[in-house]
Symmetry: C2
Subunit: 208 residues, 2 copies
């Protein structure tokens, strides 16, 4: 397995700690059809994994320190409620974020992947945010900001995909596969948010 560091705190992919996804493998197949995701995308994602493997630190730094940190409405999610930085929170979740890039590219989209999709989503909701790192921060990342930020990620990944001398066609193929995967992941992430909203009509947890 391809890992960005020997120890990645709270990275529990494929372990028994991770609950089974509410989305089935059959639903995932249908989702692939809706996104136009095929075996060719798997091929290009694998290529992307090789291209991005030694760039994950820079990429996540650009996203989180370069972009998110300068948007107050997003930056607050890695800080205390009083607005103080929490370096270990950022450091540890950055490592998991880096690993997610590799997982997006190199992992088979099987039951373990589905389960971890749900886990990552939950770690952005009030059901699990802050727990992995034992911190005090915002209760959740609103779903709509996650969806919007994907536009930024899709755009800024391009130069990294193009940085290793692949042909234009290969770069375009890798980028398309990346965008399709991210759209599927957002679709999967919306499930725990929907379920949380549905379960809590009384105390009005709507983390839109």
């Amino acid at each position: 397995m391809n890992k960005v560091a020997e120890v990645i705190p709270a990275y529990t992919y494929g372990t028994t700690e991770i609950a089974k996804s509410s989305v089935s493998l059959d639903e995932l197949e249908k989702l692939k059809a809706s996104a136009g995701f095929t075996a060719q995308d798997e091929h290009f994602l694998h290529m992307a994994g090789e291209v991005l493997a030694d760039q994950t630190q820079q990429i996540v730094a650009q996203w989180r320190s370069g972009i998110i940190a300068s948007i107050p409405n997003l930056a607050r999610h890695s800080r205390t409620p009083e607005g103080e930085p929490i370096p270990e929170y950022l450091g540890q979740s950055n490592l998991r974020f880096q690993q997610w890039i590799l997982d997006t590219c190199l992992r088979p989209y099987d039951q373990d992947w589905l389960n971890y999709q749900q886990e990552i989503a939950l770690r952005h909701t009030s059901l699990k945010k802050n727990q992995a790192d034992g911190v005090r921060s915002t209760a959740f990342v609103p779903f709509h900001d996650i969806v919007a930020f994907v536009a930024v990620m899709n755009e800024t990944i391009k130069p990294y995909l193009a940085s290793k001398g692949n042909t234009e066609e290969e770069v375009a193929g890798m980028h398309l596969a990346w965008c399709r995967s991210l759209q599927m992941q957002i679709a999967l992430w919306s499930r725990p948010y929907f379920d949380a909203a549905q379960k809590s009509s009384d105390h009005s947890i709507n983390e839109w």
Copy 2:
């Protein structure tokens, strides 16, 4: 105003029939920041509107007759529960879909636009689907399929943007602005779905 046809059945943009969006203009500004959407994107969307204006019919035909119609899990939403085609439903909603392309490119993203975003989203949920055209069809389009299909729309719009001799840089600018807008729209659309899920914990309307 730029319209794809003189009469567009059930196209009620900006009329008093349309309820006020639950999302405020202030929240929209924050959403723009999360997606990296700026005045430059407005400029490029306007350019895209001119480029796409005489191609909306072909584009919607490719999406709905070319792609959705061949994916059974998506095609069913324009058919009766028994699987019969409903040509007037497709025809009328295709016209509104065409008009949406122009609105995405040429309308100011103001209160009317926000309100109509909510209306379009509702017309994919059980709260409003089928009503505009008075048809009998599936109760709703699942949210996750909409998110996934955006990957297809973002990819297939490219050749249409490039078909009018604009420079590579202009085409890239138009495409980026388009992708950012669509991501914001999906974020906005998720709101009525969340609200519906939240309101109906008892009879379990979760249209994920």
